[in-house]
Amino acid sequence: MAPETERILSDFIDAWNAGRRPDVEEHLVRAPAEQRAELAGQLLAFLSFAPTPAYGDADLAAIRAEPVVAGALRAAGARGGLLPALLARLRERRSLTTAALASELVGALGLARDRAPKTASYLDRLERGELEPARISRRVLEALARLLGVPLAELEGAGEPSGWGPRPAPVFRAERDAADAVGRHLELLGDALAAPGGEGRDEVDDLFLGGR
């Protein structure tokens, strides 16, 4: 690499370490065109393990105000976690409509073709944050990961706000006569949970509402 290009790399390193938030492109354009790829490779190597600068409050506030950061942090705190935002982004990157993704998903899950509209409706609700990710079956997430070309762990991680939030605490502790008091209700509840769903309930509902 020419001495001038080595100096540009060094300038970037100094600016980064000083917390001046240097821009890769602004440095690359200073290098001769034929050396930009090599310089980019070195910048990439540096950035991969560069120590994070000791940003001040103003820098941190500016970073938090970046639309990408603000959007991601807002999504992380929303119902459904990051999964709605990430799913929408991955789908759009592949230029797929929700209906088209649903159609592929139905095929991947081995469902009947006529289940595609209902699947699309669930995907739409998922992207709008109206579905609890914990209720989505692993089969659906695996198929989506395959179709969208991302590791399953990333989709699972994005859909785990419950993994971050407070765990549900027990609502009550059983007193001595608890069995007599609630036993009949628990039996009724158990029967209800074990009973087949209504006429409208099908495998698609189970896949999106039945949990892992």
Binding site: P22, A37, L39, A40, G41, P51, V68, V69, A75, R89
Partner: protein, 222 residues
């Protein structure tokens, strides 16, 4: 007031997560993500121009950066490491996966290019570019006595993956400049003054030392 350093945040995050303080863990991960936004964004930009990255179209870099950042934030729920070098390695893997996904079609033409940064990022592959170095580093740690490892964990700055890799750089003059850059965070001018060498000499040693460091971290040392 300056931001807490990544290594401190990561340890506090791991302690909170392991102790069941999940809301605190989420807040700490959020701070880590904020601290590392510039790293994500600039890696995406560098990737676009680097030998393996021309597949990322110019008009897509912003979308790629947004997606990469979302994926980094999402990574928190499953991240189980305590060492900042491993965090950076996971972050780079995540960001380059996102970049690769954006330029997948075009990158097919580039995959056989030697030294290509996406060389280990075949679709669906779990491996990252620094896995070999991480494995070698693990092996070295395992060789030490448990107590010694625990004692040295307190000296995070000296025991991070990068510090370990810098110590592997064969050329002493390159190693010296890398240590002053990474560990002491001196500027090029300060390094020149400290070592009594010219600025151009510092620039050259930094550049060449960085190349050796990258080869070590990628496990491709000659």
């Amino acid at each position: 007031m300056a931001a807490a350093p990544d290594d401190v945040l990561l340890w506090r995050y791991a302690d909170a997560r392991d102790g069941g303080e999940l809301e605190l863990a989420a807040q700490l991960w959020e701070q880590l993500a904020v601290n590392n936004f510039d790293r994500v964004q600039q890696i995406v930009k560098a990737f676009r121009f680097s030998p393996g990255g021309p597949g990322l179209p110019e008009h897509e870099w912003g979308s790629a950066a947004s997606e990469a950042y979302l994926r980094v934030v999402a990574m928190g729920a499953g991240f189980r490491e305590r060492e900042v070098g491993r965090f950076y390695a996971a972050l780079v893997t995540c960001v380059q996966n996102a970049c690769r996904d954006f330029g997948r079609r075009e990158l097919r033409h580039e995959r056989r290019v030697a030294g290509s940064v996406d060389a280990t990022f075949e679709p669906g592959a779990e491996a990252g570019p620094y896995d070999a170095a991480l494995a070698a580093y693990d092996a070295e740690l395992r060789e030490r006595a448990g107590d010694a490892v625990r004692a040295e964990r307190g000296r995070l700055a000296a025991e991070q993956l990068v510090a370990w890799a810098i110590a592997q750089v064969a050329n002493e003059s390159y190693r010296e400049v890398l240590e002053l850059t990474w560990i002491e965070k001196l500027t090029g001018e300060q390094i020149a003054a400290r070592l009594g060498i010219s600025h151009d000499n510092v620039y050259a040693r930094r550049s060449r030392g960085l190349k050796q460091l990258e080869r070590i971290l990628r496990g491709t040392r000659d």
